[in-house]
Amino acid sequence: MKKITKEQIIQAVKSLFLEAVVVLPEDVCEALETAKGQEESPLGRMVLEKLLENKDIAKNESLALCQDTGFSVIFVEWGEKVIFDGDNLVEAINEGVRQAYKEGFFRKSIVNDPIFDRKNSSDNTPAVINFELVPGDNVKIIAAPKGGGSENMSILRMLKPSDGLEGVKKTVIEAVNNAGGNPCPPVIVGVGVGGTAEKATLLAKKAVLRKLGEHNNDPRYAELEADLLKEINKLGVGPMGFGGTVTALAVNIEYFPCHIASLPVAVNIQCNSARHKEIIL
């Protein structure tokens, strides 16, 4: 059996965040370049130019792309044949986060209690960790620091089956329209359809991590992604909400079977600082 040590986990998580917070993924850079060519608003083009300039400064000077270095969201796909050689996997992940946010001079944005104390935990822990057991002997870790401004624009709607395709479209378009300039457009729209309330929400979050330019394998969902992107870019919101023709860079939909009584739709909105980085151990 393959073994992975505590130290391997700490180092992997740490290096993922040190890079993810500073270096904008190549596909996102390309999408922003393309958007600059497509945007009709001069002010919108200026915003896109500044974002491109910003990602160069961040990378060259090892500075955070955005001051909101996010909630440390982590997806772990753990191969069933792999053994963790340690006593506390969650703590190992949190230690990786702790070290990255300290060494990277990243902002610590987590408060220990949401209602009463709201005291900063001072090391950006705990991370939000989503574990999944998968076949095989690999461990994949995805680090996806998520800013509060765009996460706050996320929604969940429990639609009726009779609301159907039109209901889903309306829900997604309204979410982006209502969010306006708040989540720092151009955004990536993650949509989770089906499952239960928590399943749809998780699918929506996973959907924003998909590589730009890739589409759902089911041609019907791929077509829906294209339709929604077209409709969203007609809204007029534009870069930073100042008005324009590029409001979203992509709409990514993930789906799951659902109950005969349900049609859950979750929308997770990812800001222009679409940061994520993965590693396979």
Binding site: L63, D68, R107, G149, C184
Partner: protein, 183 residues
Amino acid sequence: MVKKITTPLTEETIRDLKTGDMVEITGVIYTARDAAHKRLVELIEKGENLPFSLEGAVIYYVGPTPPKPGAVIGSAGPTTSYRMDKYAPLLVEKGLKGMIGKGQRSQDVRDAIIKNKAVYFASIGGAAALLSRHIKSAEIIAYEDLGPEAVRKLYVENFPAIVVNDIYGGDLYEEGKKRYKKS
């Protein structure tokens, strides 16, 4: 054309600012976001002094990353402004003249801007590394316990922003969306 303005803001400066104007701000501005706003408003309600004078002041909604050794500040872009809407009208009434953030404001804030002759600017969210270059000095003046949410006194040079809400009732988000909306 970019309008160069200096702080503290005067009524004369504010009269000249119109929705959609690009500006470059030079002078002292203060940082405050959610938790600091709550405390500032509590002080006003208790009739106590604030850690800085609101007269002509500009507040930047930002919680910067920590400075690296030798740096003035870390990355420092705007946070979403609507979370401060509950507190902003009172601050504007007490003399605050400018706010820098991102995203649309409530009707109460927009009314307070018109009534008290203030202005709301947006900066570019996601351009935090670039914006930090315009910040020449930074000093925590209150609420150090809040960490990134502490109140900082910044000196900025040619800090780029755009006028969203002016004293004439303009709103860049509404106007921009109307202009580019397609059926």
